[in-house]
């Protein structure tokens, strides 16, 4: 049972980061960033490039790990800014922003896959293990250092971001922005500047998820699609815009996936996940955290 919980926590950590990025972007600037798959892969490839370069320098150990993480997050943050420059800034004060930015991010997604194909080829690229090879024992179950590291790093980053949002000036401005655009303009909050910041932060979170996931899978041009879809349905189930709801949904989905893989079959996982999300949406059309959204609107 404990190993199921561990698996669940690991999965929740990895996919939850993307889901929170999507949720957060929607909450602040009202844009649904479906180019997260592109951003995800960008982080993976940047980290890989760094790893290649670092290997020639002979770097290893914690320095290598930190470098991989930093470059992964940085690459994704840059990709997020690029998406912002193309899909957010030009459309931000025009009619039908929601739909048009959605389509624009989908177009970027389409182009992005091809771009990676051209730049890096279709072969899978591995990332060096960043948490070492150790194993630990927790309450009668084994947990690898990779799993432990994933959970710790993800939770730490998430907590850091949330705390920053609650207590800092820019965080306050981000929260205020979507609630009342006129009010935000009047207190000197430029939707454009703040929106780009939001995209950079959600990009960094996605990049972190990419590096963590690449410990298990590989980086390839299409490696972003599945995480994007899972991240999407997690943020749907959690309620777009509700961070607590998304965290809860990530935990739930992680648990569901871990339990299905363990007690049923791996192949049934997509069914179960989809079924759970549909169930949640039937009873709570706005997701788990939907109640909180009403206050904002």
């Amino acid at each position: 049972m404990i190993d199921v919980l561990i698996s669940a926590a690991v999965l929740a950590s990895m996919y939850g980061l993307i889901a929170i990025g999507i949720s957060f972007t929607w909450a602040s600037i009202g844009m649904l960033n479906l180019a997260q798959g592109f951003i995800f892969t960008a982080g993976g490839y940047t980290a890989w490039l760094f790893a290649q370069y670092a290997e020639t320098l002979g770097m290893e150990g914690p320095a290598l790990s930190v470098g991989v993480l930093v470059f992964g997050m940085g690459g994704s943050a840059l990709a997020g800014l690029l998406v912002g420059a193309v899909a957010f800034l030009p459309l931000q004060d025009r009619a039908n922003f929601r739909t048009r930015s959605l389509i624009a991010t989908l177009a970027i997604s389409l182009m992005g896959t091809q771009l990676w194909l051209v730049l890096f080829g279709s072969q899978n690229k591995p990332l060096p293990p960043i948490f070492g090879e150790g194993r630990f024992e927790i309450a009668n179950a084994g947990i690898s250092s990779q799993q432990l590291g994933t959970i710790i790093v993800a939770s730490f980053m998430l907590a850091a971001v949330i705390m920053w949002m609650r207590s800092s000036r820019h965080g306050l401005q981000m929260r205020a922005m979507m609630m009342n655009p006129l009010g935000a303009a009047v207190v000197g909050v430029s939707v454009r500047t703040t929106g780009m910041r939001v995209l950079a932060i959600s990009g960094a979170l996605t990049g972190l998820s990419s590096v963590l996931l690449a410990q298990v899978f590989f980086v390839s041009p299409t490696s972003g699609t599945q995480p994007l879809v899972i991240g999407l349905i997690i943020s749907l189930a959690g309620g777009l815009g509700s961070i607590p709801g998304t965290v809860a949904a990530a935990g739930l989905i992680g648990l569901a996936e871990a339990m299905t893989a363990r007690y049923l079959q791996q192949s049934l996982v997509p069914f179960v996940l989809f079924g759970i999300v549909v169930l949640i949406l039937i009873f709570r059309p706005r997701g788990l955290g939907g109640l909180l959204e009403d206050v904002r609107e």
Binding site: L172, M179, N180, L182, A185, V186, V187, G188, R296
Partner: protein
Amino acid sequence: MRILELQGVSAGYGPVRVLHDLDLSVNAGERVGLVGLNGHGKTTLLNTIVGLTGWQDGSIIFKGEQIGGRRTHGVGRTTPHIVRKGIALAPQGDAIFPGLSVRENLDSGAYSGATWRSRKRRREKVLEVFPPLAKLQRQSAGTLSGGERRMVSVGRALMADAWLYLVDEPSLGLAPKISVNLVAALCEIDLGDGAMIIAEQNVPLLEGRVDRVLGMHAGELKLDAGESLGDIPPSAGVHL
């Protein structure tokens, strides 16, 4: 020193022109009242100064710097930048953040680095001006009454280090007693080198409390009544 100087300012929304070639100037330390019926351009004038109209034309000089000019699109795109030069607006309808607490709403007014660091002190000063807010600090702003909302909106404007305060219809929709207190508190604030423009429909509220009264009619400034408020016809400030 001239804080604000408008020359030949026109503004409107789409094909409708609301302001027609206005000239206006406000000096340091002045408190100016802007009166007139609804729909005649008071709010549009305040919005034009910060760039929130559909289109505008004409020169607006704030502390020697040109912030106006011909602009035909992008409502509110330049507003944050203009505001950061030192103009604070308490808009009509309050525009507060319903999901944040009263304290957070006030804090959002201290948007620059320096004001943010001194926000506690500023908040205390605002609470001196509006005592009822003191016990509402942790309450969510979406649950406040009309008068309390107005206080939060005006208080937020006061949190910044502004040279020019623009207050749009502070008494709109409020009970008479509350609006008297509100406008009185507003007019007692020490402006120092700054200036304030209050747009009001209710003329008697401003009596004796402002340095100058300007009347607005059909998009043009009609009176520059440093003289008496008695020159303004009673119908100009019908207050239901």
